[in-house]
């Protein structure tokens, strides 16, 4: 990498941390670089130093940049095998609990949150569940709370939903309006949306399930370890941790705190 550009990026991430308390300093640079350069273009800045000047003097510019830094495009029931495994192997255990707390960490605009809410409703567990949906991006959280998605996108996930072992159509859970799919508000009756950073915040609740998918892929090793220790400390003994299809605990210092429940589906259980 151009050493000048790398220096500018490090300085910008430091400035963002000091001024706005968002900590991207331990994110992998390959992806951060792409997203900072996209953000710079969107802000009309020629250099990363130019972005620094903008965000320090114009807080609205930081909100724009944050959208680029946290941009994620997930699916409903992404990797259906993950949800099928949850349904078949984990739900029967959750049935034995009087109440369930499930944490979707890094929920972005909510696709995975609704996937879990729908699955729990289908299994008759939603009424006794509390779902925590956390993210660092307030605009993404608002979108998650609204639960409105482009209709053509949602339709494309009907098959994923079927492949997760669903007893009915995904269309059961939304109303189509003007090209949008508006999800049934009762799905989020027991959802707590909250601003929470895996980089700077602490554990906030005891949970039985943590699902954090395709978030750790952006973190350097030390930050991955911090996040995984939060999950471990939040989970009750024998609680379940689900990761993305390319994420594992293989390089983590907390690997031995968990055992593998379903290797391909990336479900782990706290020892």
């Amino acid at each position: 990498m151009d050493p000048n550009e790398e220096l500018e990026m490090r300085l910008l991430l430091d400035a963002i941390y000091q001024r706005f308390h968002y900590d991207f300093r331990q994110y992998g640079m390959a992806s951060v670089r792409r997203r900072l350069l996209q953000g710079a273009r969107a802000l009309g800045c020629d250099t990363v130093s130019g972005v620094q000047e903008r965000v320090l003097h114009d807080p609205k510019a930081f909100i724009v940049l944050l959208q680029y830094l946290t941009v994620q495009v997930s699916d409903f029931f992404r990797d259906p095998g993950y949800f099928l495994g949850f349904r078949e192997r984990i739900v029967p255990i959750l049935r034995t609990y009087p109440s369930i707390k499930l944490w979707v960490a890094g929920c972005s605009s909510g696709e995975e949150l609704y996937s879990f809410a729908i699955l729990l409703r289908e299994e008759g567990l939603l009424e006794k569940a509390i779902l925590y949906a956390t993210d660092i991006n307030p605009e993404a959280l608002q979108a998650a709370e609204a639960g409105i998605y482009p209709l053509d996108r949602v339709k494309a996930f009907t098959q994923n939903h079927q492949a997760s072992g669903a007893p009915c159509s995904l269309a059961t859970y939304y109303t189509a309006k003007y090209g949008s799919a508006v999800f049934d508000r009762s799905l989020r009756k027991n959802v707590v949306f909250a601003d929470h950073s895996l980089a700077t915040d602490a554990v906030f609740a005891e949970t039985q399930v943590v699902s954090c998918r395709n978030v750790l892929i952006y973190f350097e090793r030390s930050l991955q370890d911090r996040a995984i220790s939060l999950f471990r400390d939040s989970l009750c003994p024998r609680g379940f941790l689900g990761l993305g299809s390319k994420e594992s605990l293989r390089f983590s210092r907390h690997e031995l705190d968990f055992e593998v429940v379903m290797r391909d589906e990336r479900w782990f259980q706290r020892r």
């Binding site: 990498m1 151009d2 050493p3 000048n4 790398e6 992998g28 640079m29 390959a30 992806s31 670089r33 792409r34 997203r35 941009v71 994620q72 495009v73 997930s74 992404r78 395709n214 750790l216 892929i217 952006y218 090793r221 299809s245 390319k246 994420e247 594992s248 293989r250 390089f251 391909d264």
Partner: protein, 235 residues
């Protein structure tokens, strides 16, 4: 630091033709960084050893790779590959090529080191990037050219990390993904190759790459295999 290979390989590296110091010409501030730094200027006529190869393609590329990858020796720089395919199994391309290649098929997971002697196939539905410590990185940023993985994303990040020690190859395909990526490889002084559109199953992708990098060397698949094998001089 990257070792400088003093031998002329101008016949192989089309982008290093004498007198055209194309490397770095598109880089703002490249003269600030100094000419001895990786990723900036390559002295005209000199050529650095290739440390990684990136290959991209879409329609028709699985059979094109079948002409290339089995012909590469077991001790070869790492080959990083983005092919647009629909996911049908966890690692369809890896499973397809592992039994046919001397190179081993590596797991592409975040943090996996990128090493000689291995093939790295971008997993379905993730962008594949190279981290500055030469490890794999993945992302679920939005699709680029309707594709995730995107060839541009891999090529641009690999060009940042490997600079002139990178070779980029664009194969047959039906979109323009890869053109900007190949330009980034070229801009950082890397070598660029494109499958001859006349021999490609789908010509859109190689034609777009050539339009973006006219200096790229054009060859048939057999010619590309010769060129790739020639990147690694016998020792």
């Amino acid at each position: 630091m990257t070792p400088i290979d003093p031998r002329r390989t101008g016949n192989v590296a089309g982008s290093n033709s004498p007198g055209s110091n194309l490397a770095g010409s598109n880089l703002a501030g490249s003269n600030l960084a100094g000419s001895n730094l990786v990723g900036t200027n390559v002295p005209p006529g000199a050529s650095v050893a290739v440390e990684a190869i990136v290959i991209g393609g879409s329609a028709g590329s699985v059979s094109a790779l079948g002409e290339l990858l089995p012909g590469l020796p077991a001790d070869f720089p790492p080959v990083l590959i983005v092919i647009h395919v629909l996911p049908s199994s966890p690692n369809p391309l890896g499973n397809l090529f592992a039994p046919r290649c001397a190179l081993r098929v590596a797991d592409v997971e975040p943090g996996e080191p990128i090493e000689r002697g291995a093939l790295y196939f971008a997993p379905a539905d993730y962008h594949f990037l190279v981290e500055s410590d030469r490890r794999c990185a993945l992302s679920i940023e939005p699709p680029v050219h309707f594709s995730r993985p995107s060839i541009d994303v891999l090529f641009e990040s690999a060009a940042e990390v490997y600079g002139p020690a990178l070779a980029g190859v664009v194969l047959t395909g039906a979109s323009s993904d890869g053109a900007l990526g190949l330009r980034a490889v070229h801009a950082r002084g890397g070598r660029t190759f494109v499958q001859d559109p006349a021999t490609a199953e789908a010509r859109t992708m190689p034609a777009a790459a050539l339009a973006a990098v006219p200096e790229a060397r054009v060859a048939s698949l057999a010619g590309l295999l010769d060129v790739l094998r020639g990147l690694e001089p016998a020792r």
